[in-house]
Every structure is written in C-alpha cells, then in structure tokens.
C-alpha cells in the first residue's frame, strides 16, 4: 500500500470494489435522506423574527383561533438545509439533458430571472393607479407585439395562466363568435394524437369531442376531416407541428375547409419552438393559438409551473378576446377592463383570471426575446429541428421510428417499443436512462404509437451532449432487446428505486398524519 509520511493511504489500489454496503443512516454520501418538516420541525420554532405587535384591541369579530393549526417551523439554518437537501433529489435542466417531448425543456437564462426580480417589476401591485405602472403596461405591450409579429396574428390575449388555460381562452372565443352570429354548434374535432388538455378543454367549454383519425404517416387525415365537417362542427383543435413531431403539411387546406364549413381553427401552440421565425401560424389560416411562454420562450418550468399561455387571435376572433388587456397610444398605456370594456371591447367574453396575467413570466419572456432577437429566434427553431433530426437518424437503426421513412421530423423524434424482449417496455428504457444520468424522454405519448418515446432535445443542447445521450440510449435499448434483468430493476442509482404507484392510488395518503392521530 502507498502511504504518505503520516500513514495516510495515497492510492486506492487495495480497496475492494463491488456491491455497496448499506449505511447506518441510509444516506449515501452526497445523497442525503431528509425527514419531513412534520418530523423535524415544531410549532414553537421559527426562522423569522418579528417586532412585538403594538397594543391594540382585537377587532376579529369573536373569531379568534382557539385550536393549534399544526404548522411546524424550522430555524433559517435548518430551513436552508432542508430545501437544499431536497433539491438534490431532483433532476433539472441545469443538471443535464432533459429531452421530454412536447415539453421543450430548454436552458432557462439567468438574465431572465434577474430582470423579473427588478423591484420595478416584482414589487408593484396589480391595482396600483395606472399612472404609477406605465412601465409594466409597456412590458405587456412590447411582449404582445413580439407575439403578434412572430405569429402573424393581429391580436393577443395575455392573461391566460398556462397552456391549457390558453386553450380554454381560444375555445371560449370560438364559442362566443359562433353565438354572436346565432350559430350554436356542438362538436369540436380533435386528432387522436392531441395533448390530453385539448379534449379536456373542449369538454370544459361545453363541447362534445370527436376524434379525427390520423394517416399512416402520422398526420391528420384530411379526407376524413373534410367528410366530418358540417353545420354542427364549431371547430378543430390541431397541434402543429403535431405531437408525432411532424409538420401538418395540409394545415392551410384544413383551415380553408373548416372556414368553408363555418367553423374555426384552434392551433395548440405547444410546439411553436419548432417553427418560431420560420412559419407564421397566421399564414396557415389559424384563428387562435396559445403560446407556452414556459416552453418556446424559456421561462422556467419550476417543477410544474407557473406557466403562461397568451393566445393570439385572428381578426374574426379578436373582438371576443377576454379582459383585461393593455392599450397603448402615444407612449401612454392604459388597461381595458370591466370599467371601459363597454366602449372599447363590447363583445369580450369576459374575464379568465383576477388581475392581468403572469407578469413575472412576461418580463422573463421579453428578456429572452430581446436577447435572441428575430435572427436568434430563427436560429433557435433551426437548431431545435436539426438536433431532433440528428437524434432520429442516430437511433433509427436500433429503435422503430414509425414515421421516419416519410421524411424529416420537426423539433422532436418519435419512436415505438417494437422489438424489445418479452416483458420489456418503454418504462424500462426510461428507468435505464435515469441510471445513465439522463432525464427520460416523454413516455407513452402520443397515444397513436405503441409504447411511444418522444424525444425533444431543444436547441440548447450541444452536439456532444446529444452524442452522449444517443450512446447511452443505444446501450439501454440493447439491454431491452436482450432482456437484461438489471434493466428491469432500474433505476439502481437514483435516490429511490421504482415507486409503487398502485399502492399510492389505492389507499391515497395525501397529507402527513401525526402518528398519534394516524388512522
């Protein structure tokens, strides 16, 4: 054994490798187990100091709280450690490749975060007198301008809070427009490959949902769609590029046919990242489209939101857009809300949210747009599409790519589970990728492909990062084809092994119960 002169070993040649033994604490070096705050905190501990309250009579109307709430507190030092430890059990874009198809997990620039936190944006109240928030209105107006220009659409509603909320906004505008001409229609057509939010939204808005079949090439079946159109069809909801990662070549023909039949075209803009700066949906006959600022325009996903889903509108639907919105004239901005809607926006279908929308996301998205500029945004879509096609062609020899023979994909590449050994599924591929240090792709979506794997690299990944991912995925696919039992048990190296989702759903435990009160 090599040692230095204090007897400390300097080389590791004698250390036995192999299966790691269990530890006393359950911790594994940098992966630290963390109790719940209900197990570590207490109701008399706090991490915040307040001055004493002044003497004043109680005006609480006799409603003073008499029982303990049961909220544990931690000191600041414990709080920082608790959440830091938890954070380390999470995978994020900052850590590595995150190719979730249809989710556009691109780099979140930190300038965006800094700008959103300028006190002039972060510390203003939505109901401040209008003369004191002109800069905030200008942010909304400038962002609206970018969105209208990039989509070639004349109007935009900024208030929807996320993609699905934007869908609802668009579908309600369609219904309002139809009702305004006394034309009650009942059906919205949605392709089989649509995001689940599309049919859920149409149903929420009071429509019956009917599927449109797909062609063998993974696109909307134009003939079947035209055959179904009629006086009962309010509109179609189409994702373009679609969820198979393909551009709907017939989009203009679809729009024309729907318009001809008196309906409207809603486009799910979740995949706008593939075409920003290259194609304007307005040129394809779209009447309404939401834009996920948390996808295409880089605002962070935050572990499940907040998002932001502004909706662009055609001339035909613009009058029905919801309140409020910002109007600018001669460098002066004002809000059109309930008070002045009568004269300026009488056909609006109303209000979707309190206040004016996701301002914190607007500042981030505008910062991103200004950073990239028009030239950069076009490069964004080109690189996103290039990266996806590179993945498609780097894997099609080992994975079934049902639509690859028909041509290039857009920003995401779709594969099926064909050819795996008996009992091996897409889920195993995902868990194997976790062990290799990657976030899995989207699994089992879209529903039109068996065992779907949808890979969206985005433009912010380097060629090296993609090559590494491709190498790892080929390795994992080989294991699935050969029936490697280790893959079936993956992940082995994550903070947790596979979790029992059936048990979670059968006897839901949704809140912490103190042991003495547990049922």
């Amino acid at each position: 054994m090599s040692m230095n002169n204090q007897g400390r070993p300097t080389r590791s040649e004698d250390i036995e490798t192999g299966c790691a033994p269990a530890t006393f604490t359950g911790n594994r070096a940098l992966i630290l187990e963390e109790k719940l705050i209900f197990e570590s905190g207490s109701t008399d501990r706090t991490g915040i100091d307040f001055p004493a309250a002044p003497d004043a009579p109680s005006k609480l109307g006799g409603l003073e709280r008499s029982v303990e709430i049961g909220l544990p507190g931690l000191s600041e030092s414990e709080t920082v450690r608790h959440y830091t430890r938890l954070s380390r059990q999470n995978y994020g874009i900052d850590l590595g490749f995150f190719p979730l198809g249809s989710c556009t997990m691109k780099h979140n620039p930190r300038l965006n975060e800094k700008m959103a936190r300028l006190p002039g944006f972060a510390d203003i109240h939505p109901l401040q007198p209008q003369q004191t928030v002109q800069g905030a209105y200008q942010v909304i107006d400038e962002l609206a301008d970018w969105l209208k220009t990039l989509t070639g659409m004349p109007a935009v509603a900024m208030s929807p809070k996320a993609g699905a909320h934007g869908e609802l906004c668009g579908v309600l505008a369609i219904r309002s427009a139809l009702e305004a001409r006394g034309d009650a229609r009942e059906v919205i057509l949605v392709p089989e490959s649509a995001h689940g939010t599309n049919p859920a939204t149409a149903a929420f808005a009071g429509y019956k949902v009917e599927d449109i079949p797909a062609t063998k090439e993974g696109r909307v079946d134009l003939d079947a769609l035209i055959a179904r159109l009629g006086p009962d069809v309010a509109g179609v909801m189409i994702t373009n590029p679609n969820t198979c990662g393909l551009f709907e070549r017939d989009m203009k023909k679809i729009s024309d046919a729907v318009h001809e039949a008196g309906g409207f075209v809603y486009c799910d803009g979740a995949n706008f990242n593939a075409i920003v700066g290259k194609v304007r949906p307005g040129d394809l006959g779209v009447d309404a489209m939401h834009i996920n600022l948390h996808k295409t325009f880089s605002t962070p996903h935050g572990g499940g939101g907040p998002g932001s889903g502004p909706v662009v509108f055609s001339e035909a639907l613009a009058p029905f857009a919801p309140l409020p919105f910002v109007e600018g004239q001669g460098g002066e901005y004002r809000l059109v809300e309930e008070e002045n809607a009568e004269e300026h926006h009488a056909s609006s279908f109303g209000r979707m949210v309190a206040f004016h929308g996701q301002m914190g996301m607007f500042t981030r998205a505008l910062t991103y747009m200004l950073s990239h500029g028009a030239d950069g945004l076009r490069q964004v879509s080109e690189d996103a599409v290039l990266n996806a096609n590179y993945i498609l062609r780097s894997l099609e020899d080992v994975l079934d790519a049902p639509f690859a023979p028909s041509g290039p994909c857009m920003h995401e590449a779709l594969f099926s589970d064909k050819g795996f050994a008996d009992g091996f599924t897409t889920l195993d591929i995902a868990k194997g990728l976790i062990d290799e240090g990657f976030h899995p792709m989207t699994m089992y979506f879209p529903l039109v492909v068996h065992g779907a794997m949808l890979i969206e690299p985005t433009e912010t990944e380097s060629k090296d990062a993609i090559d590494e991912f491709v190498g790892a995925l080929r390795h994992v696919v080989a294991a699935a084809k050969s029936g490697d039992a280790n893959l079936k048990a993956a992940p082995h190296h994550a903070p947790r092994r596979r979790l029992d989702e059936t048990m979670a759903a059968r006897k839901p435990v949704l809140v912490y119960k103190d042991s003495e009160t547990a049922a």
Binding site: K59, D94, F204, G350, D500
Partner: protein, 452 residues
C-alpha cells in the same frame, strides 16, 4: 448567440449524418408559400446581456415601487415581507429547472415539497386534504364551483356579495359557457356581511354557496350556521381565503364546516409581481377527494420499501381521462407553491401567529387614526388587516391624488365596481407588517390634505 451551443462545424457534421444539404431541407414539409425568409418585420436582432438589461431596467424605472413609498393596497394581493432565504432556495436549479414530477425516482425533491405543501394548506384551511396548487385564487374558486356541481349534480351557485369582484367576474364568464347559474351582486357598505341573506336564498337547486373570508371589504363572520344550512339543503359551502395570513389569527373555514376551501397563496413567499404568477390553494373534505381538480402528490414506498412520493389519483386528470377529466389543468403553480411552503416553514405556527397578530394590531391602530379624520368613517366592525373607509369624495380621485404625493393609499371600490355609484366613495385600506408608523402617519396627513 450565447444560449446556442452548436458551432457551424457541428451543424455541418449533423446535416451530413442526417443526409441533407441544408437546414431548410428539414423544413420541406412546410409549404413554400408559408415559409418566412428574409428579416422579420419590425423586430430587432439579438442583443447582449448588457443591452437587454439596460432596456428592461428603463421600463422598470417607469413604475412606482411599492416598497419605496407608504403602501396600503390589498384586495386580493398583499405585500408581506418575504425572507431572503425563500428566493434563494427557489432559485436552486434543481427546483427552478425541473419539470412536473412524472419520473418520481429523480423528482423526490419536488414531490416531498408538494406533500409538505398539501399538508400545510390542509391544516391551515382546516381541511382533510389539499392539492398541489392551482393557477391562482380566482381560477381555484371557479374550479370549486364546478366541483360542487359534479358532487351535487346541481347547477346553481350562490356567490356572496363579499366575494372578490374579479373572482365573481371569472365565475360569471365561465358559467355562461358551462350552463351554470351563478347568482351574484355587489356588496353593501355595511358592517354586516350577507350571510343571513345567503342562508335565506339556499334552496333545493343550490349546488354551493361561495363566501370569502375575510371578505372583499375585510369583514369576517362565523360561517358555522351557513355551512350547516347549506349542507342541510344538500349544497356545499365553498370558502375563499385571499389572505391566508389571517388564519394565523382567526378560525379556519374548515373548522366552521366548509366543504371546500380555496384561496390565493400569494401572501406567503410569492410577492406582488403585478398580479402573477400567484398560487391557487385548494383543499376539501376527504370524501370529495376523487372529484378534486389538479395534481395530487401521495405517499408510497419504493422497491426497497423506502418511503417515497408520487403523483397519484391521475385518473381524474386530463392526460389520462381526456374529455372526462375533472379539469383541463396541467401546468399549475409549482414554484410558487414551493415559495409558499418555504415561507410557511420559516414561520411555523409561532411565526404565523406573531405575523398575524402584528398585522391585525397595526391595522386596528391605523383604522383608529383614519377614523379621526373629518368626514372619514370605517365601515367594518370586524377585520383582519384590511378594512373599508368611506370618504367624503370619490375614492378614485383620492387615490390618484395620494399617488401624486407618492403614497399608494389603497384600492378604491370604484376601481373594482365601476358600475356601482354607491360604492364610489369607499376605499379599501390594507395594513401589513411592512407598513411603519411613519407610513400610516403619512397616509393620514396626506388624506387630510386631499380632503381639505
């Protein structure tokens, strides 16, 4: 371009692997006439960090920052001190840049946070269960109305006239399309809420009664009788809390029998942010859990028997149930829920009670001072940190004149109820722990000037 790692050589090598000559060949499915070429009209090209920062700072400078002046606005968005560690922690990339936790083995951080958040919200509201967040209070309120409709199979919702007018507006806008019957009206400037009227209005068609606590004028009354009456008639009581800090001082709606309690969580951790993003809170009784909208995180074990957390009961949700889902919500407000939860953990029960007491005492003192101004009267008998005063002049005018004196003096009811002339002299004033004695003195003396 600083966010794009591909070099020209990379692009060439990749195109060669793909087997096409140029990137444009990858866009061959886009019809020629729909392709954009040349520069995009009116939009600038890319810019340096420095240049972008300069532009954004210029816009930020045009706004009057709440923290820079005496500030008394509320009405559904409250300014509280958010400890420094909250913003530090939510900016950890593992939280900030994660997705919805669909792969639980590598998302235990987010999932444990959601489990803790759900428990905090359920306990605060006095309910059995809570979900993993909604967009904001107003959308949570509408979702509660639709949930009550599913449970009772009835279509009539009675909204208290003390419910935030934006929340009412959202419900009215949505109800037009869903065929729900929403009954609402504007509040009266009285110390009493409309609870007695609501009790009289409940009938066999009523799906739910929706009542805000404290209400839009800041008033609070016991909800116990209302809950009992509603339930007796087969309806649900939905309580809306726009200022969760109040529940550090007063009984929770759940304790008083509410079936569903929703709220706006912005007060804790999130900040004003000009109205969004905020975080919708949603809690209810255990028996209604399968009718809840949105994501739920549940406890389970992994293959080695270790405790872990997963998203659960997803058969309620759009990605499984499609048009039969309980809601179309997908992305919710995860990072704001994290901020709320961290702030709540820092407070703990003791901190929340201290904070609530501090807010209440400051507000009571401010109300006493304001009541001494000639012609000014306080409407409320009961309130937490927000109360309504009646001025001898139009309150919108007074608010503008106060702003000219660099005082953000409150929210005029004229702004919230533009068509209700009898409310035009009323001003909503909120006093939180961030208001100093000097701020209150400044408001009182400026208001005297404005009214003289």
């Amino acid at each position: 371009m600083r966010y794009l790692p591909l070099t020209p050589d990379d692009r060439d090598a990749m195109l060669a692997r793909i087997g096409v000559a140029s990137v444009d060949d990858l866009f061959s499915d886009v019809p020629e006439e729909a392709r954009l070429t040349g520069t995009i009209r009116d939009l600038p090209d890319h810019a340096s960090e420095m240049a972008v920062e300069r532009h954004m700072q210029k816009l930020a400078n045009k706004n009057l920052v709440a923290g820079s002046v005496p500030f008394f606005l509320g009405a559904g968005a409250y300014r509280h001190h958010v400890p420094s560690s909250v913003d530090h922690l939510i900016q950890r990339g593992e939280f900030l840049t994660a997705y919805t936790p669909y792969q639980p083995e590598i998302a235990q951080g987010t999932l444990q946070v959601l489990f803790e958040f759900q428990t905090q919200v359920a306990r605060l509201f006095g309910c059995d269960v809570a979900n993993a967040s909604m967009y904001d209070g107003s959308t949570a309120c509408w979702e509660a109305i639709t949930m009550a409709g599913r449970i009772t199979r009835r279509k009539k919702a009675l909204l208290s006239n003390g419910l935030h007018p934006h929340y009412v507006s959202v419900a009215n806008s949505m109800a037009r399309f869903t065929g729900d019957d929403v009954i609402s009206s504007a509040p009266e400037l009285s110390a009493k809420t409309d609870i007695a009227d609501l009790i009289d209005m409940i009938d066999a068609e009523t799906s739910c009664v929706v009542v805000q606590y404290p209400d839009i004028l800041g008033r609070m009354e016991d909800l116990t009788a209302l809950a009992a009456k509603a339930q007796e008639a087969g309806a649900l009581l939905v309580a809306v809390v726009t200022e969760p800090v109040a529940l550090g001082a007063v009984k929770s709606p759940g304790e008083m029998g509410a079936d569903i309690v929703v709220g706006e969580g912005q007060s804790l951790g999130v900040g004003l942010q000009f109205g969004g993003p905020y975080v919708g809170l949603f809690a209810c009784k255990q028996k209604y859990v399968r009718q809840m909208p949105g994501r739920l995180c549940g406890e389970t074990v992994d293959a080695e028997g270790k405790r872990g957390f997963v998203l659960t009961l997803s058969t309620r949700e759009q990605h499984i149930r499609r048009e039969k889902a309980t809601s179309n919500i997908c992305t919710n407000s995860g990072l704001c829920a994290l901020a709320f939860s961290i702030h709540m953990t820092l407070l703990g029960e003791k901190g929340l009670r201290d904070l609530a007491q501090l807010n209440h005492a400051k507000a009571v003192k401010a109300a006493q001072q304001l009541a001494q101004i000639d012609g000014v009267s306080v409407v409320n008998d009961s309130f937490f940190n927000e109360f309504t005063v009646i001025l001898p002049v139009d309150a919108r005018e007074a608010v503008r004149e106060l702003a000219d004196r660099s005082i953000l003096g409150g929210v005029s009811l004229g702004r919230l109820y533009p068509n209700e002339s009898e409310l035009s002299h009323a001003l909503l004033i909120t006093v939180t722990e961030t208001c100093t004695d000097a701020d209150v003195d400044a408001l009182v003396s400026a208001l005297r000037e404005v009214l003289s």
